[in-house]
Amino acid sequence: MTSVQIGAAHLDVLTELGNIGISRAARQLSQLLNEPILIAVPRVELCTPSEAARHLDPGGGGELACVYQRMSGELPGHIALLLPARDTHLLFRDLLGQGAPLHTLDLRAFEHEAMTEIGNILISSCISAMADMLGLRIDVSVPRFAEAHAQELIQDDAGADGERVALLIHTHLTAARRDLEGTILLMLSTTAAEKVMRAVQALILAAD
């Protein structure tokens, strides 16, 4: 359990924020793949980094592909897009199907580069929607790509559980050629998480 507690109304607002952010990201992915993408209403969780690692990989065996960016501005921390690694290979293959002149390139290296850019687009779309809704300015650094198990990714990124809060936005994307399970992870300091909650509270009050 995290040191930042939220009520049902706050969770509802966070879910809607996640929904808007993921929807904008899905629209961008749809343009990249040139096919419609359906998204399920996301599931939002606020938890400790250790709990986040367990949620992301309950079996403990699957490798994840992760694009992550450092956040600065009014909400310092990290944001990451996490997908099962096998799905990113297929996603990349879908992208190649558009006839890009890639046959002379080192495909493996290019896959990481391409996934980094795709991740950057999806994260930026999502974070910009959330920033506007919350009325916060959030800057993101250049993206980095990694493939590892959830525990390793989170350990690399997070400090002690008491100092950090993980905000997970899970969703299920349905495309014509395949389905994708994706998660946006925001790793925040306790102070930053409390700032999110204050912005959420302001939204609730504004709506009343």
Partner: protein, 271 residues
């Protein structure tokens, strides 16, 4: 014999001119008093441009000189970014025009037409404004001050992601015959830009050790005047505001598509 009106006397011309001038000054001051964000600088420029021609016709050299400076200054302000200096210079211009209006109420223009320039702190204001124009960093001028000439464009895409640059090339509409150059960082952008003098530069917002806004300023400080377009998926309002304040002519949202690029290039061509 066709009837011909006798030519207007200078007194009659002055009377018409004075009425017009009061109206022009009033419209310009009204617009200026709406503040730097809402002011219609085109209108202020037009009013003083017309005033300049009229002052010459009725032989009021001091007003002719003053109007020319204010008209130029209004056009200049239109291209200034909306930053701190823009506000400061806007206030100066407003004060100068308000002073003129006040003096015209105290001493009618027709009386001033006897040849004596009015006694007002005009010279100080003019000096201050002209100094400001000289001091202003050219990097703060809008990159779109000059519309690219019609025809194929020299386009520079600055993005550290080779995927992003490749997607731009794939989606660039072929019909314009535009030529695309690439750079992946600030140093490369400056080197290529100095070599090709691009018409349009698409700048990624997030770059290692730099950002698109800083690179745009560097290009302009180097004497280049391309039309700069921000290339980003981060379209949160704060980023769009920053780009606008930095003089970017537009934003191309990632992922790029043929339609999006074509729309931006059309907007660039239309100025």
């Amino acid at each position: 014999m066709p009837h011909q009106d006798p030519p207007l006397s200078r007194e009659a011309l002055l009377e018409v001119f004075c009425t017009e001038t009061r109206e022009r000054l009033s419209r310009a001051l009204d617009s200026l008093q709406q503040g730097p964000d809402a002011c219609d600088y085109d209108l202020v420029h037009q009013e003083f441009d017309s005033l300049h021609g009229g002052a010459r016709a009725v032989d009021l050299p001091w007003l002719e000189h003053y109007s020319r400076v204010v008209a130029g200054y209004a056009r200049f302000l239109r291209h200034l970014r909306r930053g701190g200096q823009h506000q400061e210079t806007h206030l100066l211009l407003t004060r100068a025009v308000a002073t003129l209006v006040e003096q015209c109420h105290k001493t009618p223009l027709a009386e001033l037409a006897t040849g004596m320039a009015p006694e007002m702190p005009m010279d100080d204001l003019l000096d201050t404004m002209q100094n400001l124009m000289r001091r202003t960093d050219p990097a703060e001028l809008s990159p779109c001050a000059h519309r690219p000439a019609p025809g194929p464009l020299q386009i520079l895409v600055v993005d550290d992601s080779s995927t992003s640059r490749l997607l731009f090339r794939i989606h660039l509409p072929p019909e314009g015959g535009h030529v695309v150059y690439e750079a992946e960082d600030a140093a490369g952008a400056l080197r290529v830009a100095l070599e090709i003098r691009p018409d349009v530069v698409f700048l990624d917002y997030n770059l290692p050790e730099s950002d698109g806004v800083s690179i745009a300023r560097t290009l302009r400080a180097a004497g280049l005047d391309p039309c700069c377009i921000l290339l980003t998926a981060n379209v949160q309002q704060a980023v769009l505001d920053e780009a606008r304040a930095a003089g970017f002519a537009g934003v191309l949202e990632k992922p790029v598509s043929r339609d999006k690029i074509a729309a931006v290039l059309r907007a660039v061509a239309q100025g």
